[in-house]
Amino acid sequence: MPDNEAKPGYARAVTLFYCINAVKSSIFAKLEDVGEFEINPVKIPCSSMIKETFILKALEAGAEAVLIITCPEDSCQFIDGNRRANKRVERVRQMLDEIGYGGWRVSIHNSRIENEDEICLLFRQALGQGENSFTAESLLAGE
């Protein structure tokens, strides 16, 4: 079974890159109690710091999906950090689709997150997209 697929009884691994201006760090302490996901949060001073390699390395390291949370559009304190992040995410998604790995694994969310429920919803949405289009069986079959 490929590393990226959740094994029965295990939490689904998600890597989260988040702008410190978009997500309250206190959320993560509460998320530990949820247990549904194995979250690897990576805080960044601005989403413009996101590079394609960071996302791909996270997938290589075993993340089933990568979620990026940025400030809302037009409210980046570095002017266009979130626009840059959007472009890079789009490029990674296209490349992952091109190799058949599933661009759905990478998603970006441009709004401030205030509580753990919101973030859990985003994780479920991010992982849910794959359940219909890219299952463990299809991965194993090399489809």
Binding site: P2, D3, K51, E52, T53, L56, K57, L59, E60, M95, L96, E98, I99, G100, Y101, L139, L140, G142
Partner: protein
């Protein structure tokens, strides 16, 4: 700079699939500037290939290295150890770089990861445009610093074709008419009258139609 773009991933995957150990060799000069072959692009491609082969259940060991220039032996030598440890090299350099690396490591397959496209400039971030055809007989001094050979779709040397509209080319309306650029610039410089002067036909013997060109600088040969 030499402008290149990465080959489609499917083509690269097919090309490298016979090899168990692959070195992705980047070039840190022209193709780095055009976001096709520097450290960053090497890392991205390496990750993508690892993921693609993992999905296929194929074991492949991929290593990464970027040298300053792949078209100069002194820099190529820095890759010797890495090349010797791998079954093949996927070069993210222009065609000259790929060939120079292949010449240096005769027993190793060296594969091109890029399509070398043109000699050009970065007009704005992310936009690269062709500016020079390397014709070997530069006439930029006569046309206000605008190369009509590279930038006119019809390669006209004696003035505009008459088909341009609003300063745009009739062949490709997204491109500026090269002759419009020449006239605007020479007007600006106050040298428009120079266009009336007779200039002899271009010397095409210096172009690449006679096979690969060579320049020998005797003063540099020891």
């Amino acid at each position: 700079m030499i402008v290149a773009e990465q080959k489609p991933l499917a083509e690269i995957i097919e090309m490298v699939s016979p090899y168990g150990k692959l070195l992705i060799l980047g070039c840190g000069t022209c193709v780095k500037t055009c976001f096709a072959g520097g450290e960053e692009e090497v890392a991205i491609l390496a990750s993508l290939l690892r993921l693609a082969f993992k999905k296929k259940g194929i074991d492949i060991e991929i290593s990464e290295l970027t040298i300053e220039r792949q078209c100069e032996n002194e820099f190529i030598q820095e890759a010797s150890l890495a090349v010797s440890r791998n079954d093949a090299v996927l070069s993210l350099a222009c065609g000259a770089g790929v060939q120079d690396v292949a010449r240096r490591f005769t027993g190793k397959p060296v594969l091109p990861g890029l399509n070398t496209t043109f000699v050009g400039v970065m007009e704005s971030r992310g936009l690269f445009t062709e500016e020079c055809l390397c014709c070997g007989d530069c006439r930029l001094g006569l046309t206000g610093g605008v190369c009509v050979l590279a930038r006119c779709a019809k390669k006209l040397s004696n003035g505009p074709c008459g088909g341009s509209r609003n300063g745009k080319c009739e062949v490709n309306p997204d491109s500026d008419c090269a002759w419009q650029l020449v006239i605007d610039r020479m007007k600006n410089l106050g040298t428009l009258d120079k266009l009336r002067e007779y200039t002899p036909p271009r010397d095409w013997r210096s172009s690449n139609s006679g096979g690969p060109r060579k320049i020998l600088r005797e003063d540099m040969v020891i």
